[in-house]
Amino acid sequence: MFLFLEQLEKELFNITGIQLDSYNPEFLINRIKERMLSLGIERQSDYLERLKTFPGEAEILLHTIGINVSKFFRNPLIYEIFEHHILPNLLWRKTKEADKSIRIWSAGCACGEEPYSIAILLHSLLYNQLDDWQINIFGTDINSQSLTQAANGLYDTTRLSETKFGYLQSYFTPDGSKYRIKSTIRNMVNFSLEDLATKQRVAPAESIYGEFDLVFCRNVMIYFNEKTRKEILNKIVHTLCSNGLLVLGESEGLLSDEMVSFTEVDRKNRIFKKS
């Protein structure tokens, strides 16, 4: 059992760079078993194989263990695409349409890394025109502790490992061994407690009416069962404005019947456009 744990830790470290050394092995084993049980996997070697081959598994496992793996600019490629392609196009289109408002929803925002990242991009793109724009970024999560942390805006360096130095310099101030996000960015994002699976509303309450230009729902729906997943996706379709974009996690995708509402913008980065 402990040999298995050792292999697993090694594999997980290879994939995510996260060390599990400091955790109680028995606790870890219980959690791994829990995960294996929910997958219906009995053999340890099978689970190791899944961990190696299935892209989202490491993350789910970490989540099962209770480790939040969110980072600023996690999967930097997506943010590059947003910075150089999607956001400029969006801004340009909106300018053309004389509708200088951008509405973004980060569904499952954890400790705010994702909405802050996108806020940073928008801030750096708009810079001195920021005041001309009505920017609404909504970060929602079901975990109130995460939201408190998000509103607090204090992050240790592991969360910033993908953050460009320029952004770090411009938008964070060192605070002890940690970094605090500057208030300009913090004020751009609105955090609220929201259960994605609720049937009471479609969009987060704080957003009043949805109509989002962008919805990030990365690595969230993997935790729900198929039925709930469909319901959530339906809600997202409703909250997106026409031509709005949906970003899913790298291991997620849309089924062909779900693609009816979307066209694929970027296959690799799971960016979909409401059509």
């Binding site: 001195n128 300009t184 009471q200 309450a205 704080e206 957003s207 009416y209 949805g210």
Partner: protein, 1247 residues
């Protein structure tokens, strides 16, 4: 048993069945008869003994009764008794006689009859005794009567009784006899029946066995024979005489066997024949074999075979079998001649039977006879006749013989063919051997000639190649010429388009101005003139480009070399292109390795780089534009990189050519003449350098300019570098000027550079004094002021600036080593920045302070110094510059001096109050009244409010909320934004939005304002209630969960007040509503309840609209359309041209719809169904021609007249466009009157 075979199975089975039926019927009849016998017996059994004994018994009792009555007679005491007794005796006597009569009729047998007769006699014998007794009694001699009765009578009666008993027993005995009889009859019947059934069964079985046996035997025989044939492969016939179904079957079977045997025999013969014919045989031998085998096999008496020569069409005798006594068989037959010729002609066999006596005889040693029949067959292979075979028979030919001959002829065909071929090959071989010998002799002669020919051939080939090369070259040249020609005309056409597009606006608008007059509508005219001006400049720019090109081409371009630093050039370039890039959200990055000094023509280099950079910006949508420099070996290379759309390899070669743009077609999406790069290349060449390009589609392009550091071949005169002091000349180009006052040269330069890079124009002052002077002189938009300076320090300078009316409005940012924010603000500075300066902070501060590049000034008019000071404090704190006036008169004076952006006005003041001030203001000034916010302690009457229409907002002093006030100020300023202030529309509905969440409130506000509501925001219940006290809104959007006073609280307090009780309220909440809460809401007259996040923008607005202005719900976006007017769709990509068209049709009474490209044009056509379409030809993406064609191809749209608008006015264009399908054509520049006339004409025709 074979005897039965004569009869058919059907007959046999029928007979059998008939027999069965007869037997069974007889059996039944017999049984019936026996049953009736038994029945008779039973009847007798019942009737005789029973009735006889019964009657006897009754007679007996009668006798006894008579005897008793006789006793009564004897003993009777009276006449009456006697008479009664005698009557009884007589009655009984009658009965007894009746019974005895019955017995006599029924009783059987003689003995019985005798017994009965005796009994009757005996009974009759008793009568005299009774008579005697009666007589005695009558005589009265009772005792002798009684004695006679007792003695004689009793004896008689006893005798009669015995007789009666005898009768009964006789009857019984007789009955027993009957039963015995019946039993015998029964057993007799049973025995007979058993026998009969046995016999019938035996007969049935026997006959069935015989019949079925007959059938099965036949089947069995057949089956056995067939099984034998199948399993053993030995065909055997069935011997079955008779004439029934089976014998017929057997006969057929036999026929089948015979046929198969014959076929087997035939194929065996064929096999034998094939066997005989195999192997290489001489043709004659073969013929012989064939004929002898076949004739023998079929028992022919004689035969002959003829070879058929196809070319000669002649049959020749080749072999014969047995001699035929005749003249001799003919050696040859022509085609169609005789039997042989006929068969060869028809290719089908010929059979002749019943030949009578003839002279043809078959002869043997001992016998001689004429043949009876002849059979002639063709031998065919592969559709060709090879030979004809004829066989004669002494008997009539059987079909099997014929069949065999036919088959044999078939297989002979193949063999004969190969034999014939072989013979022919042999013959050819001989011939070719001879010919070869002849050839050998000739070939040696030819060999010599061949060499000569080869040499000649080579020479010819070389010439042909040369010709081909020349032809190819010519072809290339021709293509080049054609291409150049095409490009030239394309260029001309483009150029004419480029020249005409601005000209169009210029001419059309100026014509409009001429015809409609300038002074009627100054603002519109002004707009026209601006457009004319802009287009004029563009035209100038174009013409300059063309002139440049011509100048270079004609060698008239002169160079002015000078020595200059690269840094300087780069800064200037960056200054120029940054705003362009910023407009497209592109990043600009310039990097330089080391300081370089050049000696070259600075302006030309600048021109080239500027062109490359602006191209990069023009063709990029995202990314960074980079300029990198790289100097080596006396050359300097500039790389201009972009992340734009890139250029394909084929296009890379073209774009440096003049007249070319990558996309020269109708659907160009980028403006430009296509001359820029051509000019650049030529300029670079002039400077002794080159321009190169590397690019990848979709990735980006790098244009590289390489020029020598020293321009050679020129007497370059050294010109000192004076460029550092350029562009300090104040606010000339519309950029905001910022005065930088700092004693430290390094700091000053840094700040200036920073500002210049960011689109400002920095002016430097090295000391406070110079700064003050410059500030007065230049009126900069902002001042950056250092604190620590020798002489006059920053604080002093700030004080001077703020105390001088000329400079007091200029916001000042203090730059300092230490944090002095509060002190700075207290002394009137707009903010403070700590050194070393953080670029972003500094810039954002400037942005923040200057708003849209302009500090907004506010005039506060109030007689109360304290109030003035309060407003000044809070306004200055928020970056406004504030001027004050203590009454209306002073305010008017100040207003004339400084034209504030906003006025905060008290109403009650000495000298001139607020109302009069407003009136004066309106009367005195032209259009340009700034917005006014009224702040008063007066309770405003209805009239007051009427007088105040036109002011932006009204606040009551006592309830003034600082944040709300500031927001209002910002909002009002934002709305007016330097433009003419529109008077506040008093007909707008006012909605109060109550939400503690700022973001939520703002969003609701945005939506509602989009839908033309006047929106007020309250952050909590308390504030909401305050608001409502000041002004009763037309509707309220209410959140439920709020601190202190929540939504329910607000509702209750609203509903309790008389005036507010009826305000419609929409509850917008994220709360899950309980039933009680819902009840509470309903009770408080809330009809709309919307869950936050469960609605969308339009729904939200519609809900509010429905609540507040239900009548507005009907109006939709076509409201601005007057349905009585004709609608014209204008598809035009050029903004100025759209403006021009709009100006032309202004006041002409049309609804105008504009589309910017072809696709939008189509969409709008469907959306608005216009009465006419004006279509530009050169449109981005989808050209006007294609858009027109799409519309014309739809039967719903093809009725709409489409008029082409184009600046391309080449010869024949009109015809071409009409041929494409346009209904009409209007050339640019547009003549307004002509176009209007044309449009009206078409619309009239439309009807």
């Amino acid at each position: 048993m074979d005897f039965f075979n004569k009869y058919s199975v059907k007959l046999r089975v029928t007979l059998l069945m008939l027999l069965f039926i007869i037997l069974i019927t007889s059996l039944g009849l017999f049984t019936l008869q026996r049953i009736s016998i038994l029945h008779d017996l039973t009847d007798t059994l019942y009737n005789h003994p029973l009735q006889v004994s019964n009657a006897a018994l009754r007679a007996k009792t009668g006798v006894i009764r008579m005897h008793r009555s006789m006793k009564d007679v004897a003993l009777s005491n009276s006449q009456l008794e006697l008479d009664l007794a005698i009557n009884r005796v007589q009655d009984d006597e009658k009965l007894v006689y009746e019974d005895l009569a019955t017995v006599r009729t029924l009783i059987l047998g003689e003995e019985g009859q005798k017994l009965v007769n005796e009994t009757i006699q005996m009974f009759a014998g008793w009568k005299p005794i009774r008579m005697e007794v009666e007589q005695l009694v009558i005589e009265g001699k009772k005792i002798p009567a009684a004695r006679i009765t007792r003695e004689k009578g009793a004896d008689y009666v006893a005798m009669l009784e015995r007789q009666m008993n005898e009768l009964t027993s006789y009857a019984h005995g007789k009955a027993d006899g009957f039963i015995m009889n019946a039993r015998e009859t029964h057993s007799d019947i049973r025995d007979k029946m058993i026998w009969i059934i046995f016999i019938v069964s035996v007969i049935c079985l026997a006959s069935a066995f015989i019949v079925i046996g007959g059938i099965t035997r036949s089947v069995h025989t057949l089956q056995e024979k067939m099984a034998e044939s199948v399993t053993k492969g030995k065909l055997e016939k069935v011997d079955m005489p008779g004439s029934n179904e089976f014998t017929v079957l057997a006969k057929h079977f036999n026929t089948l066997v015979t046929t198969i045997e014959e076929q087997l025999q035939t194929s065996k013969y064929i096999n034998d024949l094939n066997h005989i014919l195999t192997g290489d045989k001489e043709l004659s031998e073969l013929y012989h074999h064939i004929i002898s085998f076949i004739t023998r096999t079929v028992n022919g008496c004689a035969s002959a075979i003829y070879h058929f020569d196809e070319q000669k069409e002649l049959c020749t005798l080749r072999a014969q079998f047995a001699s035929i006594e005749r003249v001799k068989p003919s050696e040859t037959f022509k085609l169609g001649e005789g039997g042989i010729g006929q068969v060869a002609l028809e290719r089908s066999p010929l059979r002749i039977d019943n030949i009578g006596s003839s002279d043809v005889q078959v002869k043997s040693a001992t016998y001689q006879q004429s043949p009876v029949s002849i059979y002639t067959v063709p031998i065919v292979f592969d559709q060709k006749i090879l030979a004809v075979l004829e066989i004669a028979f002494l008997n009539p030919i059987t079909s099997s013989q014929q069949q065999f001959i036919d088959q044999a002829a078939n297989s002979i065909g193949g063999v004969l063919n190969s034999a014939l071929q072989n013979t022919r090959i042999k013959q050819l071989l001989l011939e070719s051997q001879e010919a070869n010998k002849l050839l050998e002799v000739k070939s040696s002669e030819v060999g010599d000639k061949n060499e000569e020919l080869n040499a000649l051939n080579k020479e010819l080939k070389a010439q042909a190649t040369e010709l081909q090369v020349q032809k190819n070259e010519l072809e290339i040249q021709r293509n080049q010429v054609e291409r150049a020609d095409r490009l030239k005309s394309e260029f001309l056409s483009n150029m004419s388009h480029e020249l005409r597009t601005p000209l169009n606006s210029i001419l059309s608008l100026s014509q409009l101005l001429i015809s409609k007059g300038v002074d009627k509508d100054i603002i519109t005219s002004n707009e026209y003139i601006h457009v004319i001006d802009r287009n004029g400049r563009q035209l100038l720019h174009l013409i300059n480009d063309i002139l440049d090109l011509t100048k270079i081409e004609s060698g008239k371009m002169e160079l002015y070399p000078e020595e200059f630093s690269l840094d300087n050039l780069l800064v200037e370039l960056k200054d120029t292109v940054s705003p362009l890039a910023a407009r497209k959200n592109l990043q600009i990055s310039f990097s330089q390795q080391e300081p370089v000094t050049l000696n070259s023509d600075r302006d030309k280099i600048r021109q080239i780089l500027l062109n490359l950079l602006s191209n990069a910006i023009k063709f990029s949508e995202t990314g960074t534009i980079q300029l990198e420099t790289d100097s080596r070996e006396g050359n300097l290379t500039f790389h201009v990189k972009d992340e734009g759309m890139g250029i394909s390899e084929t296009d890379q070669k073209l774009i440096f050519n003049e007249f070319t743009q990558v996309d020269g077609s109708f659907t160009r999406s980028h403006d430009g003449t296509g001359l820029g790069l051509a000019i650049c290349t030529k300029l670079a060449a002039l400077l002794g350098g080159t321009i190169s390009l590397s690019s990848e589609l979709g990735v980006g392009s790098i244009f590289s300019l390489t020029i020598p550091l020293m321009l050679t071949g020129n007497n370059s005169t050294f010109t000192p570098n004076t460029a550092t002091s350029h562009n300090y000349a104040g606010n000339m180009d519309g950029r905001n000027t910022i005065l930088v006052i700092d004693d430290d040269e390094h700091d000053r330069a840094e700040i200036s550079a920073l500002l210049n890079q960011s689109g400002y124009r920095a002016v430097e002052a090295p000391s406070g004094k110079t700064g003050l002077n410059l500030a007065k002189e230049m009126k900069p938009n902002l001042i950056s002021l250092d604190l620590v300076m020798p002489g006059m320090d920053g604080w002093e300078a700030l004080q001077m600036l703020k105390s001088d009316p000329a400079t007091t409005a200029i916001p000042v940012i203090i730059t300092s080593q230490i944090e002095e924010e509060e002190t700075s603000r207290a002394l009137g500075a707009a903010g403070c920045i700590q050194k070393p300066i953080d670029k972003d902070d500094f810039l954002s501060k400037i942005e923040e302070i200057s708003g849209q590049g302009k500090i907004q000034s506010i005039l506060v008019v109030d007689d109360d110094l304290g109030v003035r000071q309060y407003f000044k404090d809070i306004l200055v704190e928020n970056g406004y510059s504030v001027d004050q006036a203590q009454n209306g008169a002073v305010a008017l004076e100040k207003y004339r001096q400084s034209q504030p952006d906003l006025i905060v006005l008290d109403l009650i003041m000495p000298v001139m109050d607020g109302f009069s001030f407003l009136k004066k203001l309106e009367a005195n000034s032209s259009n340009d009244i700034p917005p006014v916010i009224v702040v008063t302690s007066k309770d405003l009457s209805h009239d007051d409010l009427n007088n105040l229409t036109g002011t932006a907002e009204t606040f009551t002093k006592q309830k003034l909320d600082k944040q709300v006030f500031l927001k209002t100020v910002a909002k009002v300023l934002n709305e007016s934004n330097g433009e003419v202030r529109k008077p506040l529309q008093s007909d707008k509905s006012a909605i109060l939005v109550v939400d503690d969440n700022e973001v939520a409130g703002e969003q609701i506000q945005i939506v509602l304002e989009e839908h033309d509501f006047d929106v007020m925001l309250a952050r909590d219940g308390e504030q909401a209630l305050k608001f409502i006290e000041q002004r009763i809104p037309d509707g309220i959007v209410l959140d439920l969960m709020m601190p202190k006073i929540d939504g329910f609280g607000v509702l209750e307090s609203i509903r309790s007040g008389g005036e507010t009780a009826e305000i419609p309220v929409l509850v917008l909440t994220a709360k899950e509503i309980t039933i009680e809460e819902r009840q509470l809401l309903t009770n408080n007259n809330v009809h709309q309840l919307i869950q936050k996040g469960a609605t969308d923008r339009d729904q939200l607005a519609a809900s509010v609209l429905r609540m507040v202005e239900p009548e507005r719900m009907q109006a939709d976006d076509t409201a601005s359309f007057d349905s009585r007017k004709n609608t014209i769709l204008v598809v035009e990509d050029n903004k100025d041209n759209r403006f021009t068209v709009q100006a032309i049709f202004k006041n002409e009474g049309f609804n105008l719809v504009f589309a910017e490209d072809g696709q939008a044009g189509i969409d709008y056509a469907y959306k608005y169904s216009p009465d006419l379409i004006l279509m530009d030809i050169q449109l981005p993406d989808l050209s006007g021609i294609d858009a027109m064609k799409q519309l014309k191809s739809d039967s719903k749209m093809d009725q709409i007249p489409i008029i082409a608008l184009t600046a391309k006015a080449m010869k024949g264009d009109r015809e071409e466009l009409l041929a494409e399908g346009f209904d009409d054509y209007a050339p640019k520049p547009i003549n307004p009157d002509e176009l209007i006339a044309k449009v009206k004409n078409w619309l009239k025709a439309e009807g």
